[in-house]
Symmetry: C2
């Protein structure tokens, strides 16, 4: 099992950054306690995605925080990211593992119990349980599964997990109580007035386990 | 130099297929004389792109026609396509070559003289001169360079080339006369009532060189 700290996992969304540079938000968030960063881009060109990934990788390197690329295996390979996050509509896991090799982190989104059962047959490094709550930041997601869904999935899954979707200060601790190893947030940090403080407050909530 | 026949190069666009399956059009087009096929998808999920690529690869294999993937290096790797076509806004050529290896075909779009001069420093397998004429099938392209642009680029380029953009029966022969090794078409075959006949007629026009 790889040495991963999933506790506070930032997923980027430049449209929510309030016009601040992504590198600024990511660096502040890491200083506040973010333990992993996923670069998610759905509309830019491959060149822009690649260049952004290189910039984020350089920004995260001094902090030893892994950069995970959403969906785009080619970008992950091109920037030598620490890992890839794939959803149910992305390149199949087996292909991704073969191309990335066993040392890279691969996370997989699970949207229901069946996905979690299927994921037990794979040597993914973590699962992202999504969406926990309905969220405006991602429009292509399945129905929200709620805290009870998180509880059921963490019970049957053999993998480490993070909850994602509509998670913020008010519900962060609940996700951990349901058995997840961490929370994944987008707007709670991307749109925060002070991303460092926002990350710090979330990390404090996660540490109060039990 | 790889053994490539660039003479009649079909670039797919499912939105122009008049609701016919892509495999049907591609197979008919190949039977009519298409010598290369590029799968271009800009809106579908990575999984759908991958599955479509696998289907096209199987469809082309009996004919020994190379499958080239547009932009998405990960899909090219995942389906073990014969090659990749990149534009100026895609992953940089050097990265693509490193990840794909020297045996795969890599084509590069050039949109002006300077791009063609820059491409002379690279060991790309061919250049796509685009767009020759303005075209409704691609909205993110540079200004049309016209036949004179094709002539200038084929004169200064050390690479084999195809013209693309607004090419049809009426102007196919002109592109060859301007020094290109082939023509690349989208709607002239994708939207043809009879894709096999359309390909056959275009290939006849190309053969009448000089």
């Amino acid at each position: 099992m790889k040495d991963l700290d999933l506790s506070l996992y930032l997923v980027t969304d430049r449209s929510l950054s309030l016009n601040r540079p992504l590198e600024y938000i990511v660096e502040e968030a890491v200083k506040g306690g973010v333990t992993m960063v996923q670069l998610r881009e759905k509309t830019c060109s491959s060149k822009e995605f690649y260049e952004l990934a290189i910039r984020l990788k350089n920004c995260l390197k001094p902090f030893n925080i892994p950069l995970i690329i959403n969906d785009r295996l080619d970008i992950a390979l091109a920037c030598d990211a620490e890992g890839l996050h794939i959803g149910q509509g992305d390149i199949p896991y087996d292909i991704a593992r073969k191309l990335l090799g066993k040392d890279k982190i691969i996370g997989l989104s699970v949207e229901n119990i069946q996905d979690a059962i299927d994921a037990n047959k794979l040597d993914v490094d973590y699962i992202g349980i999504s969406p926990v709550f309905s969220t405006p930041t991602k429009t292509d997601t399945a129905q929200a599964i709620g805290l009870e869904g998180v509880r059921q999935i963490t019970q049957i899954s053999k993998h480490r997990s993070v909850g994602i979707g509509g998670i913020n200060r008010a519900n962060a601790h609940d996700i951990i109580k349901c058995g997840a190893d961490g929370i994944s947030v987008v707007s709670a940090i991307m749109s925060a007035d002070d991303p460092r403080s926002a990350a710090y407050e979330l990390s404090e909530l996660i540490e109060c386990r039990g």
